[in-house]
Point group: C2
Chain length 383, copies 2
């Protein structure tokens, strides 16, 4: 097991009706920027519940944060904070709204020039405004971690800092009843891949971490199709929301290697082709595991047995069978697992490889051996 | 799934050599009370590592905190803090030292009379001195939670407050290499029972919580006998330490019922007969599950299958087989599962039941239905 630091100070208020406790958690006298997305929270009643908790408080609003939050939109939030001397950010929405709010939190006090440098140059974040969230879309895990992904022009980049962990997050599974099936499917896939990226590397005797990861994967495979079938089953939605949160809250990745290359490659497909984030992952992950089956072999065989119950055949046969099960699961969740399923030409493999090479992204993967040419092979095999 | 709040702000520094980062975590200018137990940390070198990190700092020492930390000893710590105006507590040891230090932290600013009232009357803890820990004995999980168990005369009582979560804890598995086999066995059993007490109740569709619990149990069953066999296998000790910590760090118990009656009853056996804490649990738990097999039946059958691989027979037969496996595991870890194994007479069942009744402990268990008379049956069946 590798050494690690585990520190997640975010307070989580989980369950039905928890938005009613929002006001009590907000600091007295806070001057608040309320951030949100495209308006679904107004349709499903969450907005009204939140506003009721803000009665008597000073707050301004930034709505319209996009599904892939854009730098320009967020800089309008930075301007609002400065203009009105706001000191607390409250994100109401899914991962994109929370991610975007983290960028605002870090950008306001940033003294190193254009805050985009936090993404483009990895410029250090020394402090940030405090923020909190009301989660309405389980997927990103952003409600309980320090990560954010921001887009500008055709670039989609990530940053991470301890300074942007939410002070608290409200997770009411009932807010997810009104999600369209496609967003639920995307959330299940995104969560699944977050876990896989912390699990599917090489063994380091992280016995408990492996089992925690498998626990989330098993639960997602169990509940994913039931969620897609619709209905307002509270416990199904609660398990979905809790799986998405725990996937990135810490215990899965503590002390084990990680391979975030599915996200890295997937971001390129979103930036170039506008494909939903999760659906890029459903294309990339199966192909990546196929191409990297040698270096990930031990964990692939373990995963085949523990998640899919595959115990017969040679290691190669088991891996083939498990990858077929993985593709079938993603496709059951409505996500194509081939580029062609999105109408993306095979030539995109070259384009993505060139873009990563141009940015100096040459050594992703848990062994640093996923070079641009390996990325090209992964996407070619996903054609 | 039940509603819950999840908030664990303790920073964990996990891994070999992490004591070298202790100094950097301590607040500048802190006036420290260093607390410890019986001296094993001097024999195994941990004390010297800690003292090296305290060079140039102001600190006083309270050593000799007992295996079941005693009120009188801890009040000497309270006096030291007050006399020397100390403002930070650093516990170096196992759960007893950390628990005792939590009591000191809460007792110093306590204004409600004798601090024992925190335990005897459940008097509210409004604030506490900040504390940190260097863990040397995995078992109690005290390094990452707000609970403590304190003894006075023949009473052994617990308290819990958010104010005594350690600011940080250092978990170096190498500090556990020198533990005697009996302490390792006790730690494995204690951890196992902590998980069972949050798991073995009735189903509330906490699908992920159940699997997280089973993950820890499976890992303990895998590593327990190997740990007892001795040697300095780092990864075995690391998994042990991480299991013990995660068992009570939060995710196992979030949103599900709990039944802490094994601990409640076990504390009486320690108070009356001086039996090691964990070894009381090895007596109580199997018998408690046997007596409560009706109300815990659904979870017992799930546990029989997922932990012990028992899939054949009637529910009752599966439960019998699983309880036999449980007893065999505890006994393999060197712990008798009968009162007679400790030379305790069957009549103790009446004594414990009377003591609990006298304290008004009438409704323990996840359904509040473990009355003193049920406790009597549990201990009678464990004779």
């Amino acid at each position: 097991m590798n050494n690690f630091t585990f520190h997640n100070p975010t307070k989580l208020l989980f369950g039905k009706g928890q938005i009613a406790n929002l006001g009590a958690e907000l600091p007295a006298g806070a001057r608040i920027l309320l951030t949100s997305g495209g308006g679904s929270i107004k349709a499903n009643g969450v907005y009204d519940q939140v506003i009721a908790q803000l009665q008597g408080r000073t707050f301004f609003e930034l709505s319209g944060i996009e599904a892939n939050p854009r730098y320009e939109t967020l800089m309008r939030g930075v301007a609002l904070v400065r203009e009105h001397q706001l000191d607390f950010l409250l994100a109401v929405g899914g991962g994109s709204v929370i991610d975007g709010t983290k960028f605002i939190a870090a950008a306001v006090p940033f003294t190193g020039g254009d805050p985009w440098r936090i993404l483009s140059d990895g410029a250090s974040v020394e402090r940030a405004l405090p923020l909190a969230s009301v989660l309405t879309l389980p997927a990103a895990g952003s409600e309980a971690n320090g990560a954010a992904v921001i887009s500008r022009d055709d670039q989609k980049l990530a940053f991470w800092t301890t300074h942007v962990y939410p002070v608290f997050s409200v997770l009411d599974p009932e807010t997810t009843f009104s999600l369209p099936p496609r967003q639920i499917a995307n959330g299940v896939i995104d969560t699944f891949v977050h876990v896989m990226e912390q699990y599917m590397t090489y063994p380091v005797q992280g016995l408990l971490q492996d089992r925690f990861a498998e626990s989330i994967l098993q639960t997602l495979v169990e509940i994913g199709p039931k969620l897609l079938a619709g209905g307002r089953d509270y416990d199904l939605h609660a398990n979905f929301m809790w799986c998405a949160c725990m996937a990135l809250q810490g215990p899965v990745g503590a002390g084990v290697p990680a391979d975030w290359s599915s996200h890295c490659i997937g971001h390129e497909l979103t930036a170039l082709h506008g494909v939903d984030h999760a659906r890029t992952l459903a294309v990339v992950l199966p192909s990546l595991l196929d191409v990297k089956r040698e270096t990930k072999g031990e964990k692939l065989v373990q995963w085949a047995e523990r998640l899919w119950g595959i115990r017969e055949g040679t290691p190669g046969q088991r891996i083939d069978a498990a990858l077929a099960r993985l593709r079938a699961f993603f496709e059951q969740m409505g996500a194509p697992t081939r580029l062609s399923g999105h109408g993306i030409p095979a030539s995109t493999a070259d384009v993505v490889a060139q873009r990563l090479a141009a940015r100096g992204v040459n050594t992703i993967g848990e062994r640093g051996d996923i070079t641009p040419s390996v990325v090209r092979r992964i996407l070619a095999r996903a054609a």
